[in-house]
């Protein structure tokens, strides 16, 4: 579904992603693990056209997306839950959800989807009329996920959805990710919380200093020495 092929991304003179190859197939949950500054967020930014790769190609369902603008990439069925959530702080929860469906013009579908998000995240319904800047971190994470789902993406990308959340909320987030997959959405998940991510993922990649050093099924990665030492504290 998503193919990242031989991608190199630079920030000015800094070579951040080196010869990156990642593949995400329809129906999978795939996770990308890595420490701080390994290039996880840059990978997401490259997928979404926020930074452009210098070499290599990105394709989504066979179509080149690395030549498109961010808004076009969204129109092709990808959505991102960005790092640090990035909800619109001075819009209400309801308006944030509406923004998620920006490319959808069918009001009845939007209203239905908002109801679906309220069912998935009951807290959002309680806070519907509150501006998002006043929500707690966990509520903002729910909102960022709901907002991304409002686009009805075929592939949902998530950049560290567990960051800064309490253990209970982390569990809720990961339960929700599994629920989202059951509804037919493919998930590409960037995480530092390797244990949680590998527990729900089908496959995983390990990113170190901008390079993929390891890829395997999630089950094998959980048993892998490198992963255990570097990310699972074992």
């Amino acid at each position: 579904m998503l193919e990242i092929h031989d991608v190199d991304t630079y920030y000015g003179p800094n070579h951040v992603l080196r010869d990156l190859n990642i593949e995400v197939n329809q129906g999978e949950i795939v996770t990308l693990l890595g420490a701080n500054a390994a290039g996880k967020t840059t990978t997401m930014k490259t997928i979404f056209g926020i930074v452009k790769p210098r070499n290599g190609t990105l394709t989504f369902k066979g179509e080149r997306i690395d030549t498109m603008g961010t808004d076009q990439i969204i129109a092709h069925g990808l959505a991102l839950v960005p790092e640090a959530r990035r909800v619109f702080p001075r819009m209400t929860v309801f308006e944030n959800l509406e923004m998620g469906a920006f490319l959808n013009n069918d009001r009845s579908v939007i209203d239905q989807d908002i109801e679906r998000m309220y069912a998935l995240f009951p807290r959002l319904k309680e806070r519907a009329k509150q501006v998002a800047g006043t929500l707690s971190g966990g509520e903002q994470q729910m909102l960022a996920m709901g907002r991304a789902l409002m686009a009805r993406p075929q592939l949902l990308c998530m950049d560290e959805p567990s960051m800064g959340l309490s253990p209970i909320l982390v569990q809720t987030v990961f339960d929700t990710i599994q629920e989202i997959r059951k509804q037919g959405v493919t998930v590409f998940l960037v995480e530092q919380n390797a244990f949680m991510a590998l527990n729900i993922a089908d496959r995983g990649y390990v990113l170190q200093q901008g390079q993929i050093v390891l890829t395997d099924t999630a089950k094998n990665l959980l048993d892998n020495d490198l992963v255990r030492r570097a990310y699972l504290g074992g």
Partner: protein
């Protein structure tokens, strides 16, 4: 303001009458300042640029609508029905001219500098301002040209306070446009895209918002409001001059900062407050005409020092 000398104050008025007369003048001036201030605040809100050419965008509406009315050979009030048609025509032309100019300046001066250090587009804006002023000066000359008084001087008098029909029309036109803007930003798709882009452009792009188109639209709307203000200014002050936009632009910018730059309600509030302060300064400060600008810019300095976020500045944190 020198040009305010054309606003007549009845000599025989009572102190209370004079006060209310100045309020009436202040509200009329404030309506025009608010329209121009909105353009500063919309653009600042979306790309954090102070569009120093905005005053000249306003001025070009005054210059072009003067040329139109001269070309039509109109020198006096054409009668009520034709007057309404003429007013609508002038507003349409003024808004179109300023919107087009503002769009063009964004496209060729600011867009190529979108990723440059912030000083670069600011200097480009000053350059654009000089270009607009110089072309207007070459076209219309360096001196004031009178705009024909197409409005009959009819009005209502309350005691000694005179409210001209023209003043009422100015305030109504301004309020209708401001209300329209508010509804547009609240309710339309493009309006929501503008708000989202102002709050977080990258996140807005991730919703599928076309950021370039949204920025262009912001300049078009801000320009159109300045264009409408230019027509109203022509009717009220009736003096067209290539340098008008510099001074009025700075006053409107002060209004935007006073209200809280980036906040559209703040721009409207600031516009009316500055209009009232100016009208009252002219009346009550000895040698008031000479002091009006000094008072306004002293206010600008005081806000920047003591409350840079302005009266209605945003206080909600971006991240929790």
């Amino acid at each position: 303001m020198l040009t305010l000398a054309t606003v007549m104050i009845p000599a025989s008025a009572s102190p209370v009458g004079i006060f209310f007369q100045q309020l009436e003048i202040g509200i009329t001036l404030g309506a025009m300042y608010a329209l121009v201030a909105l353009g500063y605040t919309l653009v600042y809100g979306i790309i954090e640029l102070i569009n120093f050419a905005h005053g000249d965008i306003f001025m070009w509406s005054t210059v072009v609508t003067l040329a139109v009315i001269q070309a039509m050979g109109i020198t006096a009030s054409p009668g009520p029905v034709k007057l309404i048609g003429l007013l609508i025509l002038l507003l349409a032309i003024g808004m179109l001219v300023s919107a087009t100019l503002n769009y063009t300046i964004e496209r060729f001066f600011y867009k190529p500098l979108r990723k440059a250090p912030r000083l670069a587009p600011l200097i480009a804006a000053i350059g654009a301002s000089f270009i607009l002023e110089t072309i207007a000066q070459l076209w219309r000359g360096s001196s004031f040209v009178a705009f024909p008084s197409i409005f009959p001087s009819v009005g209502i008098t309350f005691g000694s306070v005179r409210v001209n029909l023209l003043d009422v029309v100015i305030v109504i036109v301004a309020v209708v446009l401001m209300y329209g803007l508010e509804r547009f930003i609240r309710l339309t798709r493009m309006g929501k895209a503008m708000r989202a882009t102002a709050q977080d452009p990258e996140a807005a792009a991730l919703m599928g918002v076309n950021i370039n188109r949204t920025i262009s639209m912001t300049f078009i709307i801000g320009g159109a409001l300045a264009g409408a203000a230019g027509v109203l200014y022509n009717l009220y002050i009736a003096q067209v001059w290539f340098f008008t936009g510099f001074q009025l632009g700075l006053i409107a910018f002060t209004a935007a900062v006073l209200g809280g730059i980036g906040n559209i309600y703040g721009a409207v509030l600031g516009g009316f407050v500055i209009g009232l302060i100016e009208a009252l300064t002219i009346q009550y400060v000895p040698g008031g005409f000479a002091w009006a600008d000094a008072v306004v810019f002293a206010i600008l300095v005081l806000i920047l020092v003591f409350k840079p976020s302005g009266l209605l500045g945003q206080q909600i944190p971006n991240k929790v």
